[in-house]
Symmetry: C2
Subunit: 142 residues, 2 copies
Amino acid sequence: MSGLTIGKVARETGVGIETIRFYERQGLIAEPARRPSGYRDYAPAIVERLHFILRAKDLGFSLKEIGELLSLRVDDGRTCDDVYSRVMAKRADMEQKIRHLERMKRALARMAAACKGAGPRGECPILEALKHEDEGEAGDWR
Amino acid sequence: MSGLTIGKVARETGVGIETIRFYERQGLIAEPARRPSGYRDYAPAIVERLHFILRAKDLGFSLKEIGELLSLRVDDGRTCDDVYSRVMAKRADMEQKIRHLERMKRALARMAAACKGAGPRGECPILEALKHEDEGEAGDWR
DNA sequence: CTTGACTCTGTACTGTACTACGGGGTGTAG
DNA sequence: CTACACCCCGTAGTACAGTACAGAGTCAAG
């Protein structure tokens, strides 16, 4: 019994047909089985994989990085420890991004509060707001 | 007395000279004063601004979005209400990015946990972990 | 068996964000 | 005064991530 055509996968995931083929060329998804006609014949698991790719992309990962995330399973020669450390590195990356976003968010909140009063009229209010935010935190951002 | 040349700014920020000129063309940084020779003459504040651009870029904002963040101020013709609502919109953007990053982080933590006990030789079911991550959490991510 | 939606491959094009010249002028240390 | 690093502008090329055809074959409903 056959699985999904590329069109069905596209409709179920919201990813364009051309894009799915593009991801295949980039090695992000495996080459699927083919029907006698040559049509691609996908297992349902492809949907999960494409959802993951979409989400990771939305978080600012490049396709190359996503490929790395997706290949974080133990290939021959790679130990589980290696995989573990790569996962933890990504996790630390995200924690830092979250911290920075929260700082920026607080800066925006400060601007909004200022707006209730006189309003932000400085050269660049967001930089001013971040400056106040910087107090007490070392400039550790890279 | 004169400020920084483009080369000094480049060295202090790690941003290439060509890139600084590019940002100027894109309107992310103001056209600086010029020396009689025509050389760009930057005030030290440019360094802060470039650091902000770098960080925002790292957080997944496009140059266009960064330009919007940097221009959040009340100037002629713009009301405080307008700025306020734009600030709140950016804040919501950031909150969404944070939520996505946190979900991703949890997924990675789960993957790491699955890896931990398996030892150097066995299976490391990363793709399984991804599958489980996708269910249960409402698919609200777009 | 025709018609229309669907799929195939391959190539070309788009937008974003740089990056790299080429051919000149500038500034300063020796 | 001459190297030599630095700067100017403009244009062109690169990498990434798609997106859009063209021309041909496939599948299923009527």
